[in-house]
């Protein structure tokens, strides 16, 4: 059946030094079909993509394009074959217009001068293929992330891409935006574009995929139809059964509130009040831009707030002072671990130790032995998989990096954990481990405030749900009686009519 395949990776292998990252993996891409690449972080998906994109060449095995063996030496070769990769980090110049971005590097010219009319035409044609109604003179920076992504796809198509690789395209999109993206993907299918789709969201696979290639630890495991049962997919991916995707163990909620926020207001946040008691996990749900991240950051001392108070165990915190919040027992796991959570050049031990380094120092000298011992201990407890405690944190997989950020606050003895999208970009196995950490915190008398865009996670891991809308808390639901619909109804409840029009 590989005769009519557009692109075949045939038994490819790749090692980096002594580490074999890809071993005998075969992947086929067909015109008009979506092939889903499924695997945990570190399973070898990105290396595989890089082979197709011309960043790495396979050590063994071969790549066939339309049946012919090809060597994809660099990204230029890949592009010339009609292969385009849409990375999570988009390759667009924010200050340039849509038209300029789409024609970047191949600007149409007339007598040596840029032919702007032709440029806009190319861009409009490209957008039309996706049925996108955007003004090509808009600077890309003014578009939302979802629209930028579509512009990037349009750019790839205007380069005559026949194979499109979508690397976690839905990670940062809202439900409506995902629906739009899927409409575009389906349209591309009818145009005969072959696609490789990567996602951590199992529910998207059946919706968009045709078949699934499962990878585990660099090895090819199976190719199964896209409508395979989710639990079966997880089992193939992880190599063992996972008992529960959301293992929340509710603890007795008792005593005085651990975290109290009263009438907090600042910019996008309007008069927020909430209380969380020991043992409680409270989820913050809402649409993107509802103010969840802003609220978490204000409580953590990362941003200023104009009025209101934050108290931990009844003691008032000074605004905009992370160190004070840390001393009071607040731990903040920020939205984006790479840009806000970790110092990527530093070691695992150092990253875990940042919150305790000053507190444990004697005469300004770092307690090196103690810091290392504490990091080692917490790494074992959280089962952080790493080369060694001195390995650079960038060598860890996403889930293990995230656990290291948790480890930082565990070592610091944080009682109030503020989690902002705690499992974003984390694979299924590590996700469950992070959920178990949440259980551990509440079992030991701590509490958790968790902002999450994933409704299954909100419903599965919290005791109580606060739904935010336009900077306010629109309502509260107990998790037992909450449904996705009830949450969504609250999330859009305050949206003014004219603003709703504006969104569309």
């Amino acid at each position: 059946m590989s005769n009519d395949a557009l692109l075949v990776l045939d038994k490819v292998c790749k090692s980096f030094g002594p580490v074999q990252v890809i071993e005998d993996v075969t992947v086929e891409v067909y015109a008009g079909k979506v092939s889903v690449l499924l695997g945990e972080n570190g399973a070898g998906k990105s290396t595989l993509i890089k082979m197709i994109a011309g960043v790495h060449e396979p050590d063994a095995g071969q790549i066939l394009f339309k049946g012919q063996p090809v060597r994809i030496r660099d990204t230029k070769t890949s592009e010339a074959l009609g292969i385009a990769t849409i990375h999570q980090e988009l390759n667009l110049v924010p200050s340039m217009t849509i038209a300029e971005n789409i024609t970047l590097g191949r600007v149409p010219r007339k007598f040596g001068i840029i032919n702007r009319r032709e440029m806009r035409k190319i861009a409009r044609d490209a957008l039309a293929k996706l049925e996108l109604d955007l003004d090509v003179n808009t600077p890309v920076g003014e578009l939302g992330l979802a629209q930028q992504q579509l512009v990037e796809i349009a750019k790839a198509l205007s380069l005559d891409a026949r194979v499109l690789i979508l690397d976690e395209p839905t990670a940062a999109l809202t439900t409506t935006e995902i629906e739009h993206l899927f409409r575009v993907v389906n349209q591309l299918k009818t145009q005969g574009v072959g696609m490789v789709f990567i996602s951590h969201h199992l529910d998207e696979i059946a919706a968009i995929g045709d078949y699934v290639n499962v990878l585990r630890d660099g090895k090819f495991i199976a190719t199964v139809p896209a409508d395979t049962d989710e639990n079966e997919l997880v089992r193939l991916m992880v190599g063992r059964d996972i008992d529960a995707q959301f293992p929340r163990v509710a603890t007795d909620v008792s005593g005085q509130p651990l975290l109290t926020v009263e009438h907090l207001s600042e910019g996008a946040l309007k008069d927020i009040s909430l209380q969380i008691r020991p043992g409680e996990v409270v989820a913050l749900a809402g649409l993107m831009g509802a103010g969840r991240t802003e609220l978490i950051r204000a409580i953590a001392g990362a941003d200023k707030y104009a009025s209101g108070t934050v108290k931990v165990s009844g003691k008032k915190l000074t605004s905009y002072d992370v160190a004070a919040a840390t001393r009071a027992g607040i731990g903040h796991v920020p939205e984006d671990r790479k840009t806000q959570g970790l110092v990527l050049d530093a070691s695992v031990a150092e990253n875990i130790g940042y919150a305790t380094m000053a507190a444990t120092a004697k005469n300004g000298l770092v307690d090196r032995k103690g810091q290392k011992a504490r990091a080692q201990k917490v790494a074992e407890r959280l089962r952080i998989r790493m080369g060694s405690i001195d390995a650079p944190i960038r060598s860890l997989s996403g889930g293990n990096q995230q656990k290291a950020v948790f480890g930082r606050w565990f070592t610091a003895g944080a009682k109030v954990l503020l989690l902002d999208e705690p499992t974003r970009g984390v694979d299924v196995g590590a996700k469950v481990e992070i959920y178990e950490l949440i259980n551990e915190i509440t079992a030991s008398g701590g509490c958790v405030l968790m902002a999450s865009s994933e409704l299954p996670e909100v419903l599965g891991m919290s005791d109580r749900i606060l739904v935010m809308s336009q900077g306010r808390i629109a309502g509260e639901l107990s998790t037992k009686e909450a449904t996705q619909d009830a949450i969504m109804a609250l999330a859009i409840s305050n949206v003014h009519r004219e603003e709703e029009m504006g969104i569309k």
Binding site: G42, T339, A346, Y354, M357, L365, M386, G387, S388, R394
Partner: protein
């Protein structure tokens, strides 16, 4: 899976050593080549001469290492060195302060200049490049103002910094002591480790409760202190404080830090690397002098060496991170 650990090899891993110590290997090759090329290279007086030559740049570069590790840059060090040398001597010879206070006054001037640069960038939100560029001009101007554009003779305690202690020149002793001190502060103190975190990822450092602004100001104060020390060594050797003293030295100091393996984007740097970087520059200058290469061509060679050294480093890093 990245968690697959490579078993730590027993014994000496020569390849890893080469990859991590490119500048040191370069320095050794350079010395060997000069040893073969000219008999005058490996002689006691010449080596002492290199030691003295390297001391001013190296001491200045030690301070610069802190700033670069914290992802900043300090262009003002040459001017700060001059003002400190001038101010310390002026305080004694013209204002009549006791001689013993000359060095403390010089250091205070350095610290204060550094504080101003640091505060401008930490609290005034100026990029460190701009804040220190402004200070480069301001401080040089102040040096010209107090000296009226004329050299003044140094205080005797400052002159002492350029003398010999027994057979060993004082600049070399200061170089060693200040190098050890800088390495200790950078690697062992909370302040030093904080500068790595701030330079590596400012936002992550801030969200971990590290006082980012204070760290930024402190690295500039440290840079100012080392620049002041360097300026006074230079003035001590010359027995006079020139208003144009150490002008352009900031570029050598930055080059030394970068050749030594520090990253201008912050978070990476070693004092030992910086010392090696400064030695590479000094040995090349010395060798080219011994080989009677014209001073004009020397500039061309030094520039090329900086580009090659950093180019190799970029390649090495690229290979490490796949």
């Amino acid at each position: 899976m990245s968690s697959v650990a490579t078993a730590p090899k027993k014994g000496f891993d020569f390849k890893a050593f080469l990859a991590n110590n490119g500048a040191l290997v370069g320095l050794v090759i350079l010395c060997l080549a000069l040893f073969i090329a000219t008999p005058r290279f490996l002689t006691g007086p010449n080596l002492l001469n290199i030691g003295i030559q390297v001391s001013t740049i190296a001491v200045m570069a030690f301070g610069m290492t802190f700033v670069i590790v914290a992802a900043g840059i300090d262009l003002s060090v040459g001017s700060v060195a001059a003002l400190s040398a001038m101010g310390s001597s002026y305080a004694v010879t013209t204002s009549g302060l006791p001689d013993a206070l000359a060095i403390p006054v010089g250091l205070a001037i350095g610290a204060l200049s550094g504080w101003v640069t640091g505060a401008m960038s930490a609290y005034g939100k100026l990029p460190t490049f701009i804040a220190s560029l402004a200070m480069l001009t301001v401080v040089r101007g102040l040096t010209l103002v107090i000296s009226d554009g004329r050299p003044i003779s140094t205080a005797s305690s400052v002159s002492w910094l350029g003398d010999d202690l027994g057979p060993i020149p004082m600049p070399i002793i200061i170089l060693v002591v200040s190098g050890l001190l800088a390495a200790f502060v950078l690697n062992r103190t909370v302040m030093g480790k904080n500068s790595f975190a701030v330079g590596g990822n400012t936002e992550a450092a801030r969200l971990s409760g590290i006082p980012v602004k204070r760290v930024l100001v402190t690295v500039f104060v440290i840079s100012g202190l080392f620049a002041a020390l360097s300026g006074m060594i230079l003035a001590g050797r010359l027995d006079s404080a020139q208003p144009t003293l150490a002008s352009g030295y900031e570029l050598d100091a930055i080059a030394a830090v970068v050749i030594g393996g520090a990253s201008l984007s912050g978070g990476v740097g070693r004092i030992s690397g910086t010392l090696i970087g400064a030695l590479v520059l000094a040995v090349i200058r010395n060798g080219l002098n011994l080989l009677s290469v014209s001073a004009f061509w020397q500039q061309v060679v030094i520039g090329a060496v900086i580009a090659i050294a950093v180019g190799f480093d970029v390649l090495r890093r690229k290979n490490v991170k796949h």
